[in-house]
């Protein structure tokens, strides 16, 4: 492969590129899904390809292809330089990169059991059994069942005209299940385990999927789905809100992860995903949250879906403060975006979801650092409130200020104890006001969770990212947006 990367970079230089890099990537993915007792997906994906990025005439060019042959690499290298030159013609000043130490290195996310060595039959057997037990729990009410497994591996080679040559292997695995309870005269109610979006995922091997203990959680999950069909609706009011990990992770993702992506802040996503209220003039000045809020972008945390050795620009993984004691202090960045606002180095945030795609600033592991509380202490300390769990719906504006989320389930908290189940929970708030009201975050249930579904960019890319968090408490939050509660619910 080194011959190919060297030839590609030579061609780029010869064609007039002042900088070039190439990624040659293979991706293997195993996706299994059982739905209502039937196989829904049993699919193996194998992708191989390359992408070449150039700076020519001061502009950035990129081209990629599925065909990893010397002839195609030469053609694509020339095209990437030509595209760079065309881009450069519209620029007011040439693109600049902050420095990076070019290294030769290799990196591998650790695992105990290779997900691709475990027989597919074994995975199917577990999923079928989960599906069967969900249905059997109450066949008259549990009408929809689904269980999922996914294993994923990327082998990447990165080489640049600066002399970098890095090989990496990234592996993740995980899964989960969901069921929907339907009772005459009530709305269908879904419960998932361990989280929505087909479960949870970790940069580990098959041992992570095993550790989820899906079978042991069937009964509790089905029971909650059925209980939801008889539960009262979420009241419409302002209240104290507790959010646990499988909702808090998306709250962090949408209201801190995306708005601190520096490419987005600088306008790259202005016509698509949007911009950000966290502009460079507010860096070090904006009180983003309360003193209890500490957020980091950490691509070094073991087992996170945003964990790697080097990003797709060859920058070594690192941990960067985004919010420290509530103050907005940092960005997720690339070599280009860091240079634009005068940062000394990139946060190592560049990744592409496919060899033929341009790397973008993508979330790594965006973690809310653990607080001093235990989950039960937060509940015991809450006189009246609502505890919400497991994301169901999400939406946030283009500057990442106004958000609205819905969760699968919630519970009333009365005098420090968990009380009745609540259905159709929703909440809405404005980002800094919301994080400004956080006064407690737990450490005992803090987990590094992962979602492989983060969309960004034109052409669109879907990236896998991590979020570490526990259970947090927020005050004076508007809940019950859909106003579904009625007098018969006894809560209005």
């Amino acid at each position: 492969m080194r011959d190919l990367t060297e030839k590609a970079l030579e061609t780029c230089s010869k064609e007039g590129a002042s900088y070039a890099d190439i990624r040659i990537v293979t991706i293997k993915d195993e996706d299994i899904s059982i739905k209502r007792g039937n196989i829904q997906a049993l699919n193996i994906t194998n992708i191989k390809g390359f992408g070449i990025r150039t700076i020519a005439n001061g502009g950035l060019g990129f081209a990629g292809s599925y065909l990893v042959t010397p002839e195609e690499i030469k053609r694509v290298a020339k095209l990437a330089v030509r595209i760079g030159k065309a881009s450069g013609a519209t620029r007011k000043k040439p693109i600049e990169f902050v420095d990076v130490k070019a290294v030769e290195d290799s990196y591998k996310t650790p695992f105990k059991k290779d997900p691709f060595s475990v027989p597919t039959e074994e995975k199917i057997e577990i999923l079928v059994e989960v599906d069967k037990r969900l249905k059997e729990y109450n066949p008259d009410v549990i009408k929809m069942t689904q269980s999922d497994y996914r294993g994923h591996r990327e082998e990447k080679i990165f080489a640049s005209t600066e002399g970098a040559y890095i090989t990496q292997q990234i592996t993740f695995a995980g899964g989960g299940f969901s069921c929907t309870a339907i009772s005459p005269g009530t709305q269908p109610q879904r419960r998932s385990f361990p989280g929505s979006f087909r479960g949870n995922f970790s940069a580990e091997g098959y041992e992570y999927f095993e550790s989820l203990n899906l079978l042991e959680n069937v009964e509790k999950t089905a029971k909650e789905a059925i209980a939801l069909t008889e539960a009262k609706a979420c009241p419409t009011e302002k209240t104290t809100l507790l959010i646990d990990g499988h909702q808090l992770m998306l709250q962090i993702h949408e209201s801190c992860g995306h708005p601190t992506e520096l490419d987005r802040v600088l306008g790259t996503e202005a016509a698509f995903a949007g911009t950000s209220f966290m502009t460079p003039d507010l860096l070090g000045k904006l009180q983003y949250g309360s003193e209890h809020v500490n957020m980091v972008a950490d691509s070094t945390s073991l087992t996170g879906l945003g964990t790697y050795g080097y990003d797709d620009e060859g920058v070594k993984a690192k941990k960067v403060d985004l919010v420290r004691e509530g103050l907005f202090v940092g960005y997720q960045s690339s070599r280009e975006t860091a240079a634009i606002i005068g940062l000394e180095e990139s946060s190592a945030g560049m990744r592409a979801d496919n060899p033929q795609k341009l790397p973008l600033v993508r979330m790594v592991n965006i973690n809310l650092e653990p607080g001093d509380w235990k989950r039960d202490e937060i509940i015991a300390d809450t006189k009246k409130g609502i505890l919400m769990s497991t994301n169901k719906s999400w939406s946030i504006d283009d500057k990442r200020l106004n958000f609205q989320f819905g969760t699968e389930i919630a519970w009333e908290i009365v005098n420090g104890e968990i009380s009745n189940i609540i259905r159709s929970p929703t909440y809405t708030a404005i980002t800094p006001e919301f994080w400004g009201s956080m006064d407690a975050h737990s450490k005992d249930d803090w987990k590094l969770l992962g979602t492989p579904n983060c969309g960004k960019g034109q052409p669109g890319q879907v990236m896998y990212v991590g979020h570490g968090c526990g259970t947090a408490r927020f005050h004076n939050v508007r809940v019950g947006i859909t106003k579904e509660a009625t007098a018969t619910d006894g809560v209005q």
């Binding site: 996706d31 059982i34 039937n38 196989i39 997906a41 049993l42 699919n43 193996i44 994906t45 194998n46 992708i47 191989k48 390809g49 950035l60 990129f62 081209a63 990629g64 292809s65 599925y66 065909l67 595209i83 760079g84 065309a86 881009s87 013609a89 519209t90 007011k92 597919t120 039959e121 199917i124 929809m144 929907t180 339907i182 709305q187 600088l266 306008g267 790259t268 996503e269 202005a270 016509a271 949007g274 033929q356 341009l358 719906s393 939406s395 504006d397 283009d398 500057k399 200020l401 106004n402 609205q404 929703t426 809405t428 404005i430 006001e433 034109q458 052409p459 508007r478 947006i481 859909t482």
Partner: protein, 458 residues
């Protein structure tokens, strides 16, 4: 990109023969060749500029009711052979899909339209330099509208695709096509506030994109956006421009009319087929043969012929969209709406049209007592799909309208409401507009009641 049907046929036949050798009782292969390029603008320069060349081969093997599938980005015979062997191997260990009856048999495809009409040579031959010229035209045109314009963002793109679907029962479906798009968000700033305007256009022929018109329209919206005010949450009349209607229809179609969503108890139309749920003025259908649409197709992702699907006629819910699996489950025929994505599939009607009316935006504004005018929506999502409750935010231009006149621009607003409520009554439907700013062919419309649930002030 040069199309090569013979190459695709050769590869397709190879896959089916190999599958048969490995014991497949039925097999399907989809070969997709795709060349695309996209020039992305930000801050009035070309910020990203990419070209991609993809070749995807997806193989499905059935052994009885057991299914295995692989998807690979390779075309050489050895790699394909490996992929077929892998699909056969997993089919052997797969549990049975009791709902599966058969892949589709040989099909006849419409001769009303020719696939040659799906292709524009100008798009096939588009270059990075042409995209850069269009980018410069967009930037210059937008800045010429108003001195306060400070950034042009967006994308100018084109794509050429070639697809072959073959199965062991005799399906042989081939089509090719091109498409192109420009979408621009223009930002303006006066030192006190930043405004935004948006517009877009879609064409088969890259050279026919209305670059200047799109840039000027987006820039005018941005220039007209100064002096934004907050609006209290509540119920308002709403005037939806076509892109706003198109966005709503996408979610309505996905969550409501897909037979899979219906069978999974997610659809808000459950047990309501045949009911009059919407305004008599509303006619919604899917028709991939309609030449008014930019993108057309002869068949769906399993090679089943597309057919016109009446979805809402005079407010009455008529039909769901089916593929073979969901159709077999309900004992009906597929409507030709299978859509495959990342190894999974579902029926989805994506070639949408709404019949137009005689009104226009000016008349709608004149008829509005207390309402809002919306360019398009951002980040829409289902809050409660079983009740048809969706949410989303206004973006790139919304205005408050009172007593027949536009009063002032509005800061971002969030709606949270049920389609079953806000489409139950429609005041006015307009004529189709010139730009294809959404892939659906939809007119603007005015609704009497739409719930605004929040703003950036909350």
């Amino acid at each position: 990109m040069e199309f090569n049907k013979e190459l695709l046929l050769e590869k397709g036949q190879f896959v089916l023969k190999e599958a048969e050798k490995l014991g497949a009782t039925q097999a399907e292969v989809t070969i997709s060749m795709r060349n695309s390029a996209l020039t992305r603008l930000a801050n009035s320069i070309i910020d990203q500029n990419v070209a991609e060349r993809h070749a995807t081969v997806s193989t499905i093997i059935y052994i009885g009711k057991k299914k295995g599938s692989t998807s690979v980005e390779v075309l050489d015979k050895d790699s394909l052979k490996q992929a077929i062997e892998q699909a056969a191997k997993i089919a052997k260990i797969s549990p049975e899909n009791k709902d599966f009856k058969s892949l589709p048999g040989p099909q006849k495809y419409s001769t009303e339209i020719s696939i040659e009409d799906f292709v524009s040579k100008n798009t096939l031959n588009a270059t990075p330099e042409q995209r850069a010229e269009f980018a410069t035209l967009a930037i210059d045109s937008a800045h010429a509208i108003d001195k306060r314009i400070n950034a042009v963002a967006g994308a100018i793109s084109h794509i050429a695709v070639e697809n072959l679907i073959m199965n062991s029962l005799g399906v042989e479906a081939y089509e090719k096509g091109t498409g192109s798009n420009v979408n621009l968000t223009v930002l303006a700033e006066d030192g006190k506030e930043q405004t935004a305007g948006w517009s877009a256009d879609n064409r088969k022929d890259f050279t026919e994109l209305h670059i200047q018109e799109v840039a000027e329209k987006a820039a005018r919206k941005a220039a007209d956006g100064f002096g934004m005010k907050y609006l209290e949450p509540g119920e308002y009349e709403v005037i939806l421009e076509p892109a706003a209607v198109g966005g709503l229809m996408f979610f309505m179609s996905y969550f409501g009319f897909s037979a899979m969503m219906y069978q999974d108890y997610i659809s808000f139309l459950r047990d309501k087929i045949g009911d009059k749920l919407f305004s008599e003025k509303l006619n919604l259908w899917d028709d991939s043969f309609d030449k008014r649409l930019v993108y057309q197709a002869l068949f769906d992702d399993e090679g089943y012929p597309k057919s016109k699907l009446e979805m809402i006629t005079k407010g009455v819910v008529k039909n769901l969209a089916y593929d073979t699996l969901t159709a077999d489950k309900d004992g009906v025929k597929s409507t030709g709406h299978n859509a495959k994505f990342r190894g999974r599939s579902m029926p989805f009607p994506g070639n949408l049209l709404i019949s137009d009316g005689n009104s226009n935006l000016d008349e709608m504004i004149a008829e509005t007592k207390n309402g809002i005018l919306v360019t398009h929506f951002h980040y829409q999502n289902a809050v409660n799909p079983t009740k048809g409750i969706f949410t989303g935010l206004t973006r790139d231009g919304a205005w408050y309208v009172k007593n027949g006149e536009i009063q002032y621009p509005l800061r971002t607003l969030r709606y949270t409401d049920s389609v079953l409520k806000f489409l139950a009554n429609i005041d006015l439907i307009g004529k189709y507009m010139d730009l294809n700013d959404t892939q659906a062919k939809v007119p603007p419309m005015k609704l009497p009641a739409f719930t605004i649930s929040g703003s950036q002030k909350e």
